[in-house]
């Protein structure tokens, strides 16, 4: 009993600390002050002005771009990463180690180095930058994380299941689909979520690969504004909205899952 209470409260305190800054963002989304931390009276004005950006430098288009890039990059990274994990798993131990080391390089590299090196790469190849280069760049640094998520799952999996399926007459493709994928699914999902999270938050790599067609993601938008006039106040309600939306979605999904089980 005590153990239960202790553990729940431990988690509770952690979550509280983790969410404290978020609470601050939400509370201060209800005031017009330009500076986070100043309170100039209750107001909902920021909520309405989120959607008022011009065509060119607009918060909503930046947000939209961020989501699209994030989803595509995460999806591609998951597919690529899973394939890679399976591939690596089947290699000889020595090659395996080498591959893993190379795989880990993007994770360990400071992001500014990854950014500059990719920038130079695209420049020297004469590829004009924009959506494609950003997505490629994001895939580059997201895939290793997927590999890291899926590989342990592969290791823990009972290899005999796959063999058994083959013995029973399934083609490798069917065996993979029916046996491997369900086993790996949790790893793939967590890899996807991780990749998406990393992609939407990324700044430096995006900065150096967005080219010159006016493409913006949420991060580049925010940082550009921060240098000039302080952090865009509209960010606070935007973050609050995103947060609450995702939270609600989660709860709903959870409820659905619960009903299913019953």
């Amino acid at each position: 009993m005590i153990k239960r209470i202790l553990s729940s409260s431990y988690l509770g305190i952690l979550l509280l600390m983790l969410y404290a800054p978020i609470l601050i963002i939400i509370i201060f989304s209800f005031t017009e002050a330009k500076v986070l931390g100043n309170w100039t009276g209750f107001s909902l004005k920021l909520y309405t002005s989120i959607f008022h950006g011009g065509i060119h430098h607009s918060l909503t288009s930046a947000l939209w771009n961020t989501l699209i890039i994030g989803l595509i990059a995460a999806f591609a990274a998951t597919v690529l990463g899973t394939m890679a994990a399976i591939g690596i798993y089947n290699l000889m131990p020595r090659t395996q180690k080498a591959m893993q080391m190379v795989n880990t390089i993007p994770i360990l590299n400071p992001d500014i180095i990854t950014a500059i090196s990719l920038f130079l790469l695209f420049v020297s190849l004469g590829i004009s930058q924009g959506y494609t280069t950003v997505i490629l760049a994001h895939i580059t640094f997201c895939t290793p994380y997927v590999v890291l998520s899926v590989l342990p799952r592969l290791r823990r999996m009972n290899p005999n299941l796959y063999e058994a399926a083959l013995d029973l007459g399934a083609t490798p493709l069917v065996a993979a689909w029916r046996i491997l994928l369900p086993e790996l699914k949790p790893g793939m999902i967590s890899g996807f979520i991780l990749a998406f999270t990393l992609s939407i938050d990324d700044f430096v790599v995006t900065l150096f690969t967005i080219g010159n067609e006016g493409l913006e993601t949420l991060s580049t938008y925010i940082y550009a504004d921060a240098r000039r006039g302080g952090l865009t106040p509209e960010l606070r309600p935007l973050s609050a909205i995103i947060f609450i939306t995702v939270l609600l979605l989660l709860l709903i999904i959870n409820q659905r899952a619960a009903k299913k089980k019953l």
Binding site: S7, L14, G87, L108, D201, S219
Partner: protein, 250 residues
């Protein structure tokens, strides 16, 4: 393997470019001067060591705080646990800059001065989910039968944990360390905001060099960092596979 091709192209080639820059000076001539500069300048070295220390502290703290959390989560009912894990990751979806600024505001609110403590707090805050996640994943997949076997053999709960569960979870900890240690050294925004630029981390040094045009030096610095990574990764790999083998032998 298509991934190998991809990796070669997108990772190794850019890296080669970095190496190229590191060993050339502004006129494009081959030189060791950039590497020398690092050894000759105590500040860069000191910043580096300091950053490593900060990273170590952060990583250790993340493990100490994160492991119990992951453990508790792994013991909970699957549905609830999944929800909570997502809750741990959710803050990451709020943009990094605004989160850090909110942390600054938080500190202001409680009248705690910014500085080293704030820096560590900010780092742990930012990277804790990266530690909890892999550990949770591993713990969750731990074969129940192994635990039951240990219990059948007469081990008490502590022994079960220390000798069975913990060693099996080490790969998870290893993943966590990889995702926390090096990024801490290279993150510059947190140090900038939470210490009003009084404390300089290596990431800031790198960023300054690139932004101010001294690319060659910056490239050399990052190469050195990579060397360090390479060394730690090799050690890690070695330790990793041993632990995994032991785990399977039980």
């Amino acid at each position: 393997m298509p991934y190998a091709l991809f990796l070669v192209f997108f990772v190794l080639v850019p890296m080669a470019l970095i190496v190229f820059y590191a060993f050339t000076n502004t006129d494009g001539q081959f030189t060791f001067a950039n590497i020398q500069k690092f050894w000759v300048h105590p500040e860069a070295m000191n910043t580096f060591i300091y950053s490593v220390v900060v990273a170590l502290i952060t990583t250790v703290l993340c493990i100490i705080i994160g492991y119990p959390a992951a453990y508790i989560l792994s013991k909970m009912e699957s549905r609830k646990a999944k929800l909570l894990v997502i809750l741990f990751i959710l803050p990451m979806w709020i943009n990094f800059l605004i989160r850090t600024l909110a942390t600054v505001a938080l500190f202001d609110f409680f009248k705690i001065p910014l500085g080293e403590g704030a820096l560590i707090f900010g780092m742990v805050y930012n990277f804790l989910p990266f530690m909890i996640y892999p550990i949770y994943n591993i713990l969750q997949k731990t074969d129940q039968s192994l635990i039951e076997a240990a219990q059948d053999l007469g081990a008490n709960p502590t022994q079960v944990f220390l000798k069975t569960v913990f060693p099996l979870s080490i790969p998870g900890i290893a993943s966590g360390i990889i995702m926390v240690f090096m990024p801490v050294i290279s993150t510059f925004a947190i140090a900038e905001l939470l210490t009003i630029n009084n404390i300089k981390l290596f990431g800031t040094t790198l960023q300054e060099n690139i932004y101010n045009g001294t690319w060659n030096y910056g490239a050399a610095l990052s190469l050195l960092m990579l060397l360090l990574i390479g060394v730690t990764a090799l050690l890690n790999r070695g330790g990793n596979s041993n632990a995994a083998e032991e785990g399977n032998l039980i």
